[in-house]
Symmetry: C2
């Protein structure tokens, strides 16, 4: 992804490995500061995932793959490392896919550092293909809504939902992106807006409350979001608020697409009711940047994800093309 540092544009990934160290763009600090988080040991990697130094299903998968490679280089117990990594966050499918892939590589006697790089390259490759397939959905002058951050930060590079948007812009299509701020953690305001600004893609930040209004007014032509887990029937989990936008898009006859690599599909789950939903600390709702927004004794509820039933999804943009819920079973094989 393009990153502007003091007027200079660099090409950068959101997570990478240098010798035994794993480097992250610290997503908690953006957009105010571009800082890097260095993980020297498994506890650091687990902390980075849990505390959301790194977030986004594919980037979490990459972090876990690198974490397993690091554990191997540091000669740790790899089953123990796998358990620790899997216990960090419950919803994103890619975390489990990545760790299981690395366990498989061990049984093959592979060098885990190479296996992790292959895993990450395969994410990048998939994201680029998602971009190519999804770009065809975007017409000149389209105004596109996205929720949370399914960009390069979330996927090492390129993004899932943002990959078609990046490519449409590169191809000279005149587009405009409405960015849901995405409370409580403001990933839209902090991360998606930052990526779009770095790429020079015209956009406006909106309160999550305003998306329905702009849909109703005919100002949004297309919705593209990412996914944390997609089940067999097409139901999917994504950042809290995705379900709201999907229902509103449906009500306003606006195409609603989910962009995700096939590693995000969990073929072991029949439907969305079975996806575990992480409820995070209430301070994420009660405090914005050290400032309490509610009275002292007020408590909060903070589900981090919601489940959108398949009936609201126009299609799934995968590296193998754009598919419908009915096509998912054939992916399984």
């Amino acid at each position: 992804m393009k990153v502007n540092i003091n007027g200079e544009t660099k090409d950068m990934r959101s997570v990478w490995m240098e010798e035994t160290k794993i480097m992250f763009i610290d997503q908690r600090q953006l957009p105010l500061k571009l800082e890097f988080f260095l993980a020297q040991a498994l506890e650091d990697v687990a902390y980075a995932i849990k505390d959301m130094v790194v977030r986004g299903a594919p980037a979490i998968g990459a972090a876990a793959a690198y974490g397993m490679a690091q554990a191997s280089l540091l000669e740790m117990d790899l089953n123990e490392a796998a358990s620790q990594l899997k216990a960090t966050r419950p919803t994103a499918q890619d975390l489990f896919t990545a760790v299981d892939y690395m366990l498989g590589e061990i049984s093959k006697g592979a060098k885990l550092k190479n296996s992790a790089e292959e895993y990450v390259n395969s994410i990048l490759n998939k994201c680029q293909k998602i971009g190519e397939h999804g770009e065809k959905l975007i017409k000149n002058e389209n105004k596109i809504l996205t929720h949370c951050n399914a960009g390069a930060l979330a996927t090492v590079d390129f993004g899932t939902a943002l990959s078609p948007i990046r490519l449409a812009h590169q191809n000279g299509k005149k587009i405009f992106v409405f960015v849901d701020e995405t409370r409580p953690r403001l990933q839209g305001a902090r991360l998606t807006a930052w990526e779009l600004q770095n790429e020079g893609i015209p956009h406006a930040l909106i309160a999550d409350n305003a998306a329905g209004h702009f849909m109703q007014k005919g100002e949004i032509n297309l919705v593209i979001v990412g996914a944390d887990r997609i089940t067999n029937n097409g139901d999917f989990a994504n950042k809290i608020g995705t379900y709201e936008k999907a229902v509103l898009a449906h009500e306003n006859n606006i195409p609603f697409y989910v962009a995700a690599p096939i590693t995000t599909f969990d073929f072991s789950l029949e439907n969305g009711k079975d996806i575990p939903i992480e409820e995070r600390g209430q301070e994420e709702v009660l405090i914005i940047g050290q400032r309490n927004i509610a009275p002292d004794q007020t408590r909060a509820r903070n589900p981090a994800f919601d489940v959108t039933p398949k009936k609201y999804v126009t299609g799934y943009i995968t590296e193998k093309g754009i598919i419908t819920a009915e096509d998912i079973s054939s992916l399984r094989n």
Copy 2:
């Protein structure tokens, strides 16, 4: 309303008049500080409305009525005062209703201070009746969602949407309130949560994004919101995000009620398309408590209200009882 000050509970209104001075609870400072704003002249009243020292359609109406009374006591040109007050905010119907009522009182030769107090008493009376009618909709163990603040702060006392909730709690019904934080200005987090805490009503703050999730999970039984303007056919304007919650309630078969006095109905407008929607400054989205949440060059769109079509409304809780969209034309007479 109950206000807890240093462990002591006082009964207070959100706006009142003392001699020629108009006093406001400064709603911009809550819940961190309980401060009062003193309006000594018309410019102060206009500022208080524009800058949202006072907000909520009925309370804006009360402020305008007091403003006209003050202008009369200070021997100002009353037509000029009326124009200045009407120019403060475009969406809330009560502002225009209140100023026109006061102009009518002038032509009758009334003492405007008395007329303003009568206007305010009539708001209080209506809010209490709205409470009595609406309370019947609330069952024991109900979990109720509300958006923004349609409480005592918004209506001088009691509230519109919060009036039935207050009464159900006083009557010993065990209820729970989900409070949408209501970005960008956080009236739910700052004001509704503050009122509920003062009254001892169990509640939880949620990100606006999470309301749909809790509806889908069956955790919300009833939605009650206020209104800024209701048109002849039943479409209504209210705080941005109301439309989203209405569509989601409809989709999940949850009753959705609008609580408002009949002064909020604008019989001159056939439907919601004709309601002017105020777009406020983008800094309300970009900055939370002095802190910029987005990159430097990112711009924002900030519609303050949206319009909910009548088809999503189960009923309107008015001082004359609970009515449907079909009944509105009969109110006109």
